[in-house]
């Protein structure tokens, strides 16, 4: 089996947006595998632990008065003057890709199997071989306007270390975000633009936090998906019908994700890796970490979908050994539904109520189409055996997952 290798370099990453205009950095055939590196966009929260000594990370994050390797960060404007910076941080995730699958056309489905994931070790001699991640409680978090201790509002960054031996993550220290001025002279009073290096001489570190608490590791990629068709540059923040920032920790080793293809080649990108996350991703981020993943890509042509699990699929679908999960969003396809200002309009639409509605409809359709149930059967089964969970309440287009256990259908 052909196994490709796609390292993260300035030439293989794009920052903060999906785009059908990007040339693929790798083209592979259905059935082939690729090992893809990703670097977390929160690495600059602790430069010494997550960037220093790592040549690729150093190059990607390089930003001086005269030089900024990755200028565009986000789907916003690239013509100054800027409020936040080029791309305006309308989308924040540092993604590796896109990877094209030969022969993929709109209407097809691309299956991505997560074969394995492993963390990227620190290359700084002082921390060599250790794994670090960052978890900001950010201004887009569910807690931000609802804080009870002072000062309010505030953003707090917690740095974690991943212990692969025990498969747990422990907090190292935290600090309150203080205004940071980037090399172009723009001051960031809050976390409003990705990749701004935090000057550790300006923050006060708090040690001894979450003492003894071990968070079970749940290694996964928060963002995996294909390029949408509706616009040239699409923010990576709201997840949508071609996937993207799903932030579901179940999309981990052993998972198979199915995505509807919207543009030729599919154009798969991934990043936003997490060492762990809870259902809801409450504070706005998970434990953001750099991971490398091995993936297998399988193309399912439109003509072959009938009678399979993928018949009529218009949204991302997860399959693993235990369950099938459909992803409901506040707005199922916000690019198509919300009109010309969709990228800003979606920021006002986050609601679990509409996401639950969407998840219900998608699971009903899935059960009726792929399990040949009548509507009454599907509804009874959903009530007694399907589980609805909160995926995230922080990615503008909020998510509710509807899951049904595969073991329920032993005779099928």
């Amino acid at each position: 089996m052909t196994k490709h290798h796609l390292p993260a370099t300035p030439d293989t990453v794009h920052w903060g947006y999906f785009s059908k205009t990007l040339a693929p950095v790798l083209t592979l055939k259905s059935g082939e595998r690729a090992v893809i590196e990703s670097i977390t966009h929160h690495a600059n929260d602790d430069y010494a632990r997550m960037i220093e000594g790592d040549r690729a990370a150093e190059e990607i994050f390089l930003w001086t008065k005269d030089q900024k390797t990755m200028r565009r960060r986000g789907a916003g404007t690239t013509d100054g003057p800027f409020t936040y910076g080029s791309g305006e941080g309308m989308g924040v995730h540092l993604l590796t890709g896109p990877v094209a699958v030969e022969g993929a056309e709109p209407g097809d489905i691309i299956e991505v199997r997560v074969i394995d994931t492993w963390p990227r070790p620190s290359a700084n001699p002082a921390y060599a071989g250790r794994f670090f991640g960052s978890n900001p409680a950010a201004n887009w978090g569910f807690q931000y306007k609802d804080l009870i201790e002072g000062p309010t509002p505030r953003e707090v960054v917690t740095i974690y270390e991943l212990d692969m031996g025990e498969a747990v993550v422990r907090a190292l220290y935290s600090y309150l975000w203080t205004p940071q001025t980037d090399p172009d002279g723009i001051t960031h009073p809050t976390i409003d633009y990705p990749g701004v290096r935090v000057d550790h001489s300006m923050v006060v570190k708090k040690e001894g936090i979450l003492p003894g608490i071990k968070v079970p590791a749940r290694l996964h990629f928060g963002t995996m998906g294909l390029a949408p068709a509706e616009a040239d540059f699409v923010s990576t923040i709201p997840p949508n019908y071609t996937g993207g920032n799903m932030d579901d920790w179940r999309i981990a080793k052993g998972a198979r994700m199915y995505y509807p293809v919207a543009v030729s080649g599919g154009l798969f990108s991934c990043g936003d890796a997490h060492a762990s996350q809870g259902d809801s991703e409450l504070s706005g981020t998970a434990i953001e970490i750099s991971l490398t993943g091995e993936f297998e890509f399988i193309l399912h042509k439109k003509e072959q979908l009938e009678g399979t699990l993928l018949e009529g699929l218009t949204h991302p679908l997860l399959e693993n050994d235990e369950v099938w999960s459909v992803y409901g969003f506040s707005v199922a396809n916000y690019l198509a539904e919300l009109g010309p200002d969709h990228q800003s309009e979606i920021l006002k639409r986050g609601s679990l109520d509409s996401a639950m509605r969407d998840a219900f409809r998608k699971l009903r359709r899935f059960l009726m189409t792929t399990q040949n149930l009548s509507e009454d059967e599907a509804i009874s089964l959903m009530s007694v055996a399907a589980d609805f969970a909160v995926t995230q309440v922080v990615d503008a287009n909020w998510g509710v997952t509807g899951s049904i256990r595969k073991s329920i259908f032993p005779a099928r």
């Binding site: 003492p211 608490i213 079970p216 639950m356 009903r364 359709r365 059967e377 009530s383 329920i408």
Partner: protein, 788 residues
Amino acid sequence: MNAQPFTSESYSGDAGEAAWQDVLRGFGLQSQGARHGSPAHASALSRLSSTGVRLGKFSADAQSLRPLPSRSGLPLLLMPVENSTVLVVDGDRQIVPAGQIILAPRAGDWQLQFQRGLRAVVLSVPAEAFRGRKVPPLPAAPPRVFEAQGLPDIMGRTALATAEALDRLSEAEWEAVAQSAAELLLALSGELVAATSDPSSSRAALLQRLYATIERSMGGEDLSITDIAQAEGISERYVQKLFEGTGESFSHYLRERRLQRAWHDLANPAEAAVPIAEVAYRCGFADAAHFSRLFRERFGLPPRELRRREADRQAHSAVASGQRGWPQQALVQLRAGQGAGGPARRPALREGGEASAPVAEAQTPARHYLPVHAQHVHWGYFSRSLEPLIEIASGDIVTIETLTQHASDDPERMIEGDPGAESVFHWTPTAKTVNRRGAGPLDASVFGRGAGEGFGVHICTGPIAVQGAQPGDVLQVHILDIEPRRSRHPAHAGRVFGSSVAAWWGYHYSELLSEPHPRECVTIYEIITNADEPYAEALHSYRWEPQTDPSGVQHVLYDYPGVLVRPGTVTLQANVLEGVRIPLRPHFGVVAVAPREAELVDSVPPAYFGGNLDNWRLGKGATVYLPVSVPGALLSVGDPHAAQGDGELSGTAIECSMTGTFRVTLHKKADIGSTVLADLTYPLIETPDDWILTGFSHPNYLAEFGASSQSEVYAKSSLDLAMRDAFRKMRRFLMTTKALSEDEAVALMSVAVDFGITQVVDGNWGVHAILSKRLFAQHRRSESARDI
């Protein structure tokens, strides 16, 4: 009629396209292809008024709309929003920017091309919308575009604002707005007439003004043709001539309009209290008897009869559209002093002797057994005033038999031959052992459904008093065991059955895809307990058919618990969910202590006192901690479930009678200060692995909404609110019991706490937060709370 949401996401492939055309057909429109890109998408929210006015907001892929010849009426109003559209008439193309409105005839050769996606508001007003009032014939004018100013602007804004609020307007509000929109459209259509200059249309415009004057002045008893002529500055003769041209005399038209208006006012529920004589007077009839005669001649029934029929229809449609709990109106009357009757008075404690007392005082823990029968249950409500069945000491073990209120869905399998169940469900024309079912009025004066009106449905066994329990204490209820209750019917003896109803209070009910709808569907399950991994499988299902209960009340919907479904009244469908095995999750949906706020509390919405938690994690080996709010705590258990998914989407789980064994422990307020129970104000579930905190849309809806709580809670539930509550509770739990700072608590919640949807069907919706105990195995912080 409620707002109808539509989205193509509900359908597979071409079915979505067909369903979308159905939506458009309702407006007299059809879509023409030109749909490209994947996936094809269309969504709409629309609403129909009782007079046929239909308003909708569409959002879909690029496509063209054309008229579909339909029943007569005013021209269609179409308003592009966000994107412009292209109006094509006879090959001429005109760009119509967003915000302008188009009046287009219901037939003819025109189309609207939405090239950048269809986003539009559409209003359709049929001729009937004016209830017999004359609408002058409109010349067949081509489509016309109006700039957004003056009346067209008001029309456009009204339509848009209404379209955006469709799902938030009450029935009465929507009817009022729909009628105003129809009037506005009528006035605007008049401009179409005025704009053309041929003499017949100027006559039509004048006639239209005469009609409008009559509408304004018909309340005056002595309105004459002279008054009308004077108001318009024309001669009486000319008025007569104009009316002759319509084939109807002035006086005949005036009387017809007066009778129509009287009909409308009499049918209006908001005016049900206005005396008929007064309605007659305001419509220009000074003599009530004369009015009654004319009315009967015209409509074939007396005014009083019309009113009665309309009241019935309103009551019925209120139910059909999902009225749960107390209607607001009825609560007002209740407060005005028409008592609802207290909780059922039951025979004194231990009468019948089945409830066993502690075997011996000295033995610890004492064991108690509470069998289920009519004297041991309260049905559909909690009450601080119920006499406890037994009193137990802290630490005692009590085995409690519970019955599902859905046993009546299949009496043969779940009731017959079982003395306990037969006793509770016994209901004949002359005897009903458990009369009160729900917290509603005993005389069923609100809907006439039955005593208690089914405002609350669960059969609860209890209450049990706990010695020494006082408000501020916490009651720990630990489930040691759960055993299913086996059928005693000879044909099914030893087997276990349950029922699941896709009911009118289910989450799916407002948007069923397949016909007929709406509909309720009951699925009977068998619980297979002798397998390695016990499971449930469907036996058969049936569609709910109107059932007449022994007291003679017909239940068109599943609106009252315990109505025995008689064999032969429903059609069983076999081969349901073939080959599907549902793993069991036996648990109790209801575990409650009595709330303090009200005398009778509907058992459906859960809240701080526990109640209808519907969380399947509350099974064998789990514990729930409940804050005590009345002396003795008054613990009740019921609503047993064999399996349920997170969400409980259809309105019910697999409802199955079961017997539970519980260890009940009281924690005194003074002793819990430094424990995980410190500060507990909500039901807290503990399993061997996790803490599960229960968030609700309204954590204490009884206190929050006060007197109207038992109505409001059904109207104002939301997952967004429940998520907010779950977040706040988890933050507090981590800060209080684990001594974390707020920042630590927030960080931990984002990376290690799982939020899930408990239920979206119990009035007060639930989101739970799960905290794994494993996180804290080595957590050391001296201020942390002790475990219990």
